[in-house]
Symmetry: C2
Subunit: 230 residues, 2 copies
């Protein structure tokens, strides 16, 4: 029999964190999934996650798991919901705090974990383990809401990007199409972009200007409250 060293007067649930890690490949939104090596749901794809340690916050736990899986020490992460159905894990009572993370796919290295990890376009995600299908839907909705209050999209793009890339990203996140010219005007009017003057060759056609995100203007604007309309 295994050693049960920790004793409590009342039953305690296990607490885990799970992270929906979003990446953008220039065309669509992707999520990082890992294949489960053990039962239950062995062989199924699921979000990276793990048990909370006693000396860390849920944010620290999720960041630790993110680093183990992607090598990233820092990323935009956002807690969005707790899943606590008593039956959600058949082994024991497990409640999970779900995060979504925004990362640049190019910066992701293979994880320390031996676990098989793979990027999936959000339109082609297979059936997931546990209640992770629902977690993905909720994560996307949380991201869609948040993007009205913070320009979180920049977390998914390289430091320099073209207007077309930015537009494709917003379209991928919100699932809508924008008029190219209106998007351009709106973004520039917002005042959080810096035009770098440099140009980059596109596949076909004219070279595109590069822009960068201007955090100074952003915090100044945020102080007096603003919303990104779409």
């Amino acid at each position: 029999m295994e050693e049960l060293k920790y004793h409590y007067k009342y039953p305690h649930p296990s607490v885990t964190t799970d992270s929906v890690i979003f990446g953008f490949d220039g065309v669509g939104l992707n999520v990082l999934l890992v294949r489960r090596g053990i039962e239950p749901y062995q062989g199924c794809w699921a979000f990276p996650g793990g048990f909370l340690q006693m000396d860390e916050t849920v944010e620290e736990g999720a960041a630790r798991e993110l680093q183990e899986e992607t090598g990233l020490r820092q990323a935009y992460m956002n807690q969005f919901h707790v899943y606590s159905d008593p039956q959600r894990d058949p082994r024991e009572r497990v409640i999970t705090v779900a995060f979504y993370a925004l990362v640049r796919i190019s910066e992701v290295k293979g994880g320390d974990d031996a676990a098989e990890a793979c990027w999936f376009p959000i339109t082609e995600v297979p059936r997931l383990a546990f209640d992770h299908d629902r977690i993905l839907r909720d994560a996307l909705q949380a991201l869609q809401r948040n993007i009205h209050f913070e320009p979180v999209g920049f977390e998914l793009l390289p430091a320099k990007f073209t207007m077309a890339q930015l537009q494709h990203l917003y379209e991928a996140i919100l699932g809508v199409q924008f008029d190219r010219r209106n998007f351009y005007n709106k973004m520039l009017r917002l005042g959080i972009l810096t035009s770098l003057g440099e140009r980059v060759a596109s596949q076909k056609g004219k070279d595109a200007y590069l822009y960068s995100f201007n955090p100074d203007n952003y915090v100044a604007m945020k102080r007096k409250g603003f919303r990104l309309e779409f």
Copy 2:
């Protein structure tokens, strides 16, 4: 020595729910606080909350605590953040899932709990126990954000209300002042109000029309996505 019946291989945190219960008294936004009877923070005011039971979700746990405290079987409740600093409770590792609830003060009865409970205007809340000061700030911000996507304000009003009441509520939640005439036009244009034709006498001046919230129009609008601008 007390009996420690529950044994685990790894340490497990305690999990609680805490609820920021908002009520509207016609003038400003209020929160329900209870005075703590035991250490730590004995005598301090805090949000109602308690330990999660093993057979309930965090939503069910929060609803159970709400009913114990207010007698309400049903209320609008929204999970908004998890607080998990390892030091946040000096006794043991406790992580809490925080909710905010919207209730009608008039429907609240004294709770089953012997605990002293009291409504406080949000502008006059005393120092709170644990990290509850921060929880209150976050709850208010979550409510302010949510009101852009859902007309949650109606949860705080009686079934029939005047335009002035609705405006005062929005002003109290968002902490801003609106022009009476613009607010009136905007709300009517939204199409989620039903004018009841009835009038009610106000303290002074002309009688005011009563309105009710029209959930049918709301769900129809929500289906195609909308946002309340302010």
